[in-house]
Every structure is written in C-alpha cells, then in structure tokens.
C-alpha cells in the first residue's frame, strides 16, 4: 500500500465520528445462541473449514487415547485460536478465552453427558458456569482439572511446565496417569505442574491488606500502570476522576475490578487476555 493510499484511508476513517467497535466474536457468540434456539444451526454451526479437518483429526486421535472410557457420545466442535486470543461461550454457558495458537476441543452439546469434558492444547482462561450435578473437566496432555463452577486459567509457561491458577471457587488437578497424584487449589492459589510433579510458585511475600481512600483517577492510573496498559479507559469512556472510594490496591486486578463493581458505577468489558479490561465508565455510585 502506498503512502498516499494509506493517508486516504485514514482521512476517510476520520470522517466517521463516534465510531463504536464491539468484540465481534462475543457478538457472534450471543447471536449464534439466538439462532441456535430458533433454527437448525446447531448441527451446521460446528462445521469447521476443510483446512482444519486434518488438524482436528490428528488432535482427535491424541485425545481419544487419553479419553479411555469416558468418551462423550455427542459430535465434537473444535475451536482454534490463531494469532489473536478468542473469547467464546461453550454450550453450557461457560466462557473461554483461548489464547493465540491454542486449541480447545469440545462437544457440541453436554446434554447427554455426565460431565462437561473439554480438551485443551495450549493456554486458556475458563469462567465455568455452575452446574452442581455435572462437573466441568479440562483434559490436558498431562493432567485433568475438575470443577463444578469457577474461574481459572491454564498457561504453558515452558515446555513440560504448566501453570494452573485458580481465581474463584476450588479445583482439583489430577495427574492423568496417577489419580492419587492430585492437588486441590482454592481461590487465589497457583501451582505449576511439571514432569508429573506439583510445584508451588516461589513463595511471594503477601502484602498486608491496605485499604485506603483512593480517587478514581488514582485507581485507574494504578490499573493502567500495573497491567502495562492492558486495562484502559475506552476512548469515549467517562470517569469522575476526583471521586474517591475505599479500596485495597494491593489485591489482584480481578479483585480490584470486583470491588469497583460493588462500590462504584462502573461499566467494563473483560478483554481477551489476563488482566485486560476495557472501562467505559467509572463514576460515583448513585
């Protein structure tokens, strides 16, 4: 593209004022649920482009070996994230943020299954819909994570070393080959799994809770700096910078966001990565 063509495009784009850009993957997710209930898309929406069939097939072979006897009977869908992280919703309403170059293999329906079992190759953040009688199980090459309803993430740190971080609720992580080798992670716990061993992260000095009155501007500045800009105010966002609330800025980003949700009139979207939030509004609570 020549310099002039690029300048021309920028000029054209500038003529649109107040443009809103929504996450189209999320919009498609909610829309496809709508058409799912009104028509017969359920079967066809899981069709994958031909180029992925080979990938899916080879992946299927791998997972079938690890499935043993609990193979679900429903048809499968595969979601593959290439260069960008992708957020989507599973049939039970659980939300997944699949990080780039990761694959998630999941059934098109959990209805006929005793558990909600999915297969992960790569990194993902799960926000699991609560279903007390149907555990949610993430199968990985080396281990399984079993939960009823919670939020957690699985991240490959290096070859043969995976980080499992539990954000809410509790999860049980079990060695694929030795069920007695397992650990329960409670909210806020992190654990590495490497070469069949559970390893605690280096002991971090826990900050004492330091609740203090902070202005929204200070809180925003803290979020922006600490997440290196991954949490930011939308270009058309509003903030009453001088208003203050009592908040502990030493806690995790997700807990700060939860506090803000409780104590202020905040509007935000979760972005497609850890600690990524787009804030549309940060105002005093009425």
């Amino acid at each position: 593209m020549k310099e002039k063509e690029f300048e021309y495009l920028l000029e054209k784009a500038k003529q649109i004022s107040d443009y809103r850009h929504e996450d189209v993957s999320a919009a498609w997710g909610s829309f496809s649920r709508k058409i799912n209930s009104s028509s017969d898309i359920a079967e066809s929406k899981r069709l994958v482009p031909l180029k992925w069939i080979a990938v899916a097939a080879s992946f299927l072979i791998v997972v079938l070996f690890s499935l043993k006897n609990d193979r679900p009977q429903e048809g499968y869908g595969i979601t593959i994230s290439q260069n960008l992280a992708e957020k989507f919703t599973l049939p039970d309403g659980s939300e997944v943020i699949l990080e780039p170059n990761s694959k998630l293999f999941h059934p098109s329906s959990f209805d006929q299954m005793n558990s909600r079992t999915v297969f992960l190759d790569g990194n993902a953040n799960f926000d699991v819909a609560s279903m007390k009688d149907k555990p949610f199980i993430v199968k990985h090459d080396d281990f399984n994570v079993r939960v009823l309803g919670t939020q957690f993430l699985i991240e490959k740190v290096e070859d043969n070393k995976v980080l499992i971080e539990n954000i809410e609720g509790s999860v049980r992580v079990t060695d694929n080959e030795d069920e007695t080798n397992s650990k329960v992670l409670n909210a806020g716990d992190k654990m590495y799994f490497s070469k069949k061993k559970f390893i605690s992260p280096e002991v971090e000095i826990k900050e004492v809770s330091t609740i203090a009155s902070q202005s929204f501007y200070k809180i925003y500045e803290h979020l922006y700096t600490r997440t290196e800009g991954r949490t930011y105010l939308h270009i058309n966002g509003k903030m009453s910078g001088k208003s203050t609330i009592d908040i502990d800025l030493n806690q995790s980003i997700s807990k700060i966001m939860m506090d803000l949700n409780e104590k202020s009139n905040i509007l935000f979207d979760k972005g497609n990565c850890k600690d990524c939030y787009i804030i549309y509004q940060l105002l005093e609570k009425n």
């Binding site: 690029f6 054209k12 784009a13 443009y19 809103r20 919009a27 498609w28 930011y232």
Partner: protein, 173 residues
C-alpha cells in the same frame, strides 16, 4: 446471481465483517446503541431464516446495509416514532451520500480491527492523535510521557497498521 450464504461458515464471516459497521450505520440515525444492535441482529436473523431463498444481484455489502435500513424503518414505524429524525427524512433506498458513508464505515472498521494488533498504549496514542485530533504535545502531557515517545509510538503504529491493512484485500472495494 449467487447465493448469499452457502453454509454457516460463510454466515459467520459475513456477520463478523459487517456487524460493527452496520450497528454504527443504524446508530447514526437512531442514536441508541442497544436498539441499533437489536436491529442489526434482527437483520441477520431474518437473513439466516431466509438463507435458502436469498440470491444476490448486488454486492453483499449493498444488500446488508439496505436490509438493515429496511429493518430500521420498520423499527421506527413500530415504535411510533416520527420518520423524521433530526430534521432529516429517511428515504427507503440507500442514497449516494449514504454509500460514501458506508465505505467510510467499512474503512474505519478495517482500521479498528488492524488497531487490535497494536499494544494498548500504542493504540491509545494513535487514536488520540488521529481520531481525537490531539497534538503530540497534548498527548505527551495527557499521558505524562515525552513528546519523542509519542512520535515513536505514532510511527510504530502507522507502520504496523500499513502492514495489516495491506492484508485486507477488500479495502478498496
């Protein structure tokens, strides 16, 4: 004549490409983002339900914007609002002026998408300069960084965006 949707993958691609420009197009008239989204979703729902019967003589873009506009007019009628919004009478057919606006919306969407590949801070600086019209100095003061850092960020953003937009084959269509 070709079929608009041959399979659900086509539909997903079309949805993701046009959803934001369509919502913004409708919002320019009714100034209600939630209702704009509802109108666009209804448009896509109608298309999905009638997919076996839709064959195109025009471009996908023209078809979608016309269909969304028709739905918007229905919406205005049903909500018993006056068809004149902000002293502007809404014509049923897409006008030449609107076509130009639609092209600009599609370009803006392509740039917004390309911007997603930028780092957040880089993106923010680019937007403040190009779309909010702030000078380098104003941005530097606003973000408490040096003017040189702003210049570097803009240069980096422009380079990356040009590379991204090069990949978009439909940009001049």
């Amino acid at each position: 004549m070709k079929k608009l949707i041959s399979n659900s993958s086509d539909f997903e691609i079309i949805f993701k490409e046009y959803y934001n420009p369509l919502c913004n197009f409708i919002n320019q008239y009714i100034h209600n983002w939630e209702d704009s989204k509802e109108i666009v979703q209804t448009t896509f729902l109608n298309i999905w339900n009638a997919r076996e019967r839709i064959f195109l003589e025009t471009s996908v873009k023209s078809y979608l914007f016309q269909a969304a506009k028709n739905n918007m007019i229905d919406y205005i009628r049903k909500s018993k609002r006056n068809l004149e919004i902000k002293n502007q009478t809404i014509e049923g057919e897409i006008s030449t002026e609107e076509s130009q606006n639609i092209s600009n919306l599609m370009i803006r969407e392509a740039i917004e998408k390309a911007c997603l590949t930028l780092k957040p801070k880089n993106r923010e600086i680019f937007f403040l300069n190009k779309f909010e019209g702030l000078t380098y100095e104003e941005i530097a003061n606003h973000l408490n960084i040096s003017k040189r850092a702003v210049e570097d960020n803009i240069a980096r953003a422009l380079k990356l965006l040009r590379e991204q937009l090069n990949k978009d084959e439909n940009l001049f269509n």
